[in-house]
Symmetry: C2
Subunit: 349 residues, 2 copies
C-alpha cells in the first residue's frame, strides 16, 4: 500500500484521481497495488492533508462543485504545496501543477522537496524535465528514488517507456514527429482550405488553441518536448531556448505554401526532431513538407506521432493522443505501475 | 552470466546470434548482461554442444560457408534438437525452428523439453503460441520459468511488450491491423495498377511471396497471429482454424475492386482483428476498405501496423517491420533483456 499525494488538482490531477477511483479493482487484482491518497494541494483550490486517507469519489465531486479543498473533511488545511509535501508523509508524490517553461517553477521546487523527503515522484510537467532533467534524475538516483515522467511528451501514449523497455538494446539515432496537437490541427484545417488566421480562429473556438497562442504556434511547446527527449533518451543537456536553437513555428505558412505542397503530394507538418550528428545531439523544430508515404503524413487533427529510427528495427512509429484529461492522467497511472514494479522488485517479492 | 542454446539456425537464429555478437558490449555495459552460447542445433545444419562456450563470430562465418555444425569445434556433435536441449545445460533456450502452423511441431516439443529441464524459453515460432499458448504459459508458470515470444507477431516491433508494460492498466477492447507483409505488398502493388496475378508475380520475384503463396494470400498467417494476440493479450483460447473462423484472403480482390475503393477515398488492406463482443473474444481476418484517414491506410509495401483500442488512450497505433532477419533476431534479444530484468528482480539485486 502506497501513500500518495497529488500536487496540482487541475485537469491532469483530477484525471489521474478519477482513474485511481475507476481502476482501483484492476490495480488491486491484476497488479497487487493499493494506494491511499493522503494529501492534495492546489494553488487555486486550497489543500487538505489526511494520513487516514481521503475518499477520492467524494473529493472529485467536491472539486466539480467548485468548493475549496480547505473545507474538505481532513486533518490539515490551507498548507501550500511545499508544506503539504513536507507534512503529508506520502511514499509517492504526483506533481501536476501548471507548466512554466521558462522557469520550470514551482514544479521543480515541488519535485526537489519531495525527493529530499525520500519520496518517489511522478510528474507530467514539461518544465522540470526540459530544463533540469540531469540534475533531477541524478538527485533521485543518489537517494535511491524513482522519478517518472511519461506524461511530459504525448501524454499517456507510450514513448519514454517504449524506449526504455520495448526498444531496449536498440541504438536510437533519431526521433522525429508531431509533438504539438494545436499546430497540427491548424495545419490540417489549412489543408482543407483557408488561411492561417481562419484556422487559428477555429482552433481557438474549439479550445485547441489559447487566446495567446504563441507557445504552440511559435514551436516553443514542441521544442520543450524535443529537449526532454534529447535529455532523457539521448542523454544530452540541451536547454529549450528558441533563440539559440532552430525553432521555427507555423505562423509563416500560407495557404499557397500548403497548396504547393499538396500538388507535390506532400503535407506540411510541424516536425520536432532529435538526432545525433558528428557525435553531438542536435534538436530542431520547424515546418516540413512530408511525403504522403511518411507515416507522419497521415496524422491529422490534434493527433501526435513519433518515429524512432533504430539500428535494428529501422523505423518504428507510434501514434496516439498528445493531450487530454484522461490520457495525461493515465500517464501518471502507468508511471505508478512502473514504480510499483521497480519497488516490488527491490523487495525481492 | 547466462548459458544459452539456440535451436534452429536459419535466418532468425543467425540474426539473433549476430546481434549477440554485435551488441555484446551494450548488453554488458548498459544492462549488466553476459551470455555464453553452449549449444546450437539445426535439423539441416547439424549441431554442436560445448559447455565451455562457442565462439559466435566463428560460428556465423562457418554457417555462411555452408559447413556442417557437426564439424564445428566443440564437445558433442550430431545430437538432434531434443537431445541437444537435454544435454546442453543452458539457462535459456532460444527456439527458432521452422513454423508448422497445423501441428506446431517440432517447436512445441522443443519448448516443453526445455521447460521440463528448468530452462527459460524465448521463441519466435508462431505455431506453439497460436495452438498451445495457455498450456505452455501455465507449464512455464508452474515451474517458475519465463516464456517470451515478442517475435511471433510483427517481428521485433514492440507489441506484446507494449501491451504488457506500456499499456498496463488499460483495458484493450480491440486490436486490428496489418499483420502480413506479403499481402500488403501485393495490395500496394495493385493500388499502383495491375492485376492480382501480376502483383503476386512481382512479390514472388522479389522474394516476398513463396512459390506456393497460400499461407499468406489466404490469410492463414495473419489468422495465426491474430489468434496469438487473442490467446495472450485477451486470454482467450482460440485455435487458428480457417474453416471455423472468419478467414478471407486477398485472392478474390480484383483490379476493379481496388479502383472502386480508390474512387471512394479508400484503400484495401488485409485486416486481422481481435475484439470483445458480448463478453466473448472474437477474431477475424478479411480484406477491408480502409478510409485514407485511418492510420492503417498509409501502411504500404511490406510494412505492418496495429491499432490498439483502449478505454483511456483511445486508439494507439504502432507501425514497424513485420519480418526480416535482424528485426526478428532483435525480438529474441529484447526478450532476453526482459528475462534478464525478471531474473535480476527475483534475486533482489
Amino acid at each position: 500500500m502506497y501513500k500518495i499525494a497529488i500536487i496540482g488538482f487541475g485537469v491532469v490531477g483530477q484525471g489521474f484521481a478519477g482513474l485511481l477511483e475507476s481502476k482501483a479493482e484492476v490495480l488491486r487484482k491484476e497488479h497487487g497495488l493499493e494506494i491511499r491518497l493522503v494529501a492534495i494541494a492546489d494553488s487555486q483550490k486550497g489543500s487538505v492533508v489526511d494520513p487516514e486517507g481521503i475518499e477520492i469519489a467524494e473529493l472529485l465531486a467536491w472539486a466539480r462543485d467548485g468548493k475549496s479543498l480547505n473545507l474538505f473533511p481532513g486533518k490539515e488545511h490551507g498548507l501550500d504545496a511545499v508544506a503539504t509535501i513536507e507534512r503529508c508523509g506520502a511514499d509517492i508524490v504526483f506533481e501536476a501543477s501548471w507548466t512554466d517553461i521558462k522557469t520550470a517553477e514551482p514544479a521543480t521546487t515541488h519535485i526537489r522537496r519531495a525527493l529530499a523527503q525520500g519520496m518517489h515522484v511522478v510528474t507530467t510537467n514539461k518544465g522540470p524535465l526540459a530544463l533540469h532533467a540531469h540534475k533531477l534524475l541524478a538527485e533521485a538516483k543518489d537517494r535511491g528514488l524513482e522519478l517518472r515522467f511519461e506524461g511530459t511528451v504525448m501524454s499517456g501514449t507510450p514513448l519514454l517507456n517504449l524506449a526504455r523497455y520495448c526498444l531496449a538494446g536498440c541504438q536510437i539515432s533519431e526521433i522525429r514527429g508531431i509533438l504539438n496537437g494545436t499546430t497540427n490541427f491548424i495545419l490540417t484545417q489549412m489543408s482543407e482550405g483557408g488561411s492561417y488566421g481562419e484556422a487559428l480562429k477555429t482552433a481557438q473556438d474549439l479550445g485547441y488553441a489559447e487566446a495567446v497562442p504563441d507557445a504552440d504556434v511559435l514551436g516553443w511547446d514542441a521544442l520543450a518536448k524535443v529537449c526532454i527527449l534529447a535529455n532523457t533518451v539521448f542523454g544530452a543537456e540541451i536547454t529549450p531556448d528558441p533563440k539559440t536553437l532552430t525553432c521555427v513555428g507555423i505562423t509563416g505558412i500560407s495557404a499557397e505554401d500548403i497548396e504547393a505542397a499538396r500538388k507535390a503530394g506532400q503535407v506540411y507538418k510541424l516536425i520536432g526532431r532529435v538526432w545525433r550528428e558528428d557525435g553531438r545531439v542536435q534538436v530542431s523544430v520547424s515546418p516540413q513538407r512530408v511525403p504522403q508515404e511518411d507515416p507522419l503524413a497521415g496524422v491529422s487533427g490534434a493527433g501526435n506521432a513519433l518515429t524512432f529510427t533504430t539500428d535494428v528495427l529501422g523505423e518504428v512509429t507510434i501514434k496516439g493522443p498528445g493531450a487530454g484529461k484522461i490520457p495525461t492522467g493515465y500517464a501518471m497511472l502507468v508511471d505508478l505501475l512502473d514504480i510499483h514494479r521497480a519497488l516490488t522488485c527491490r523487495k525481492g517479492d
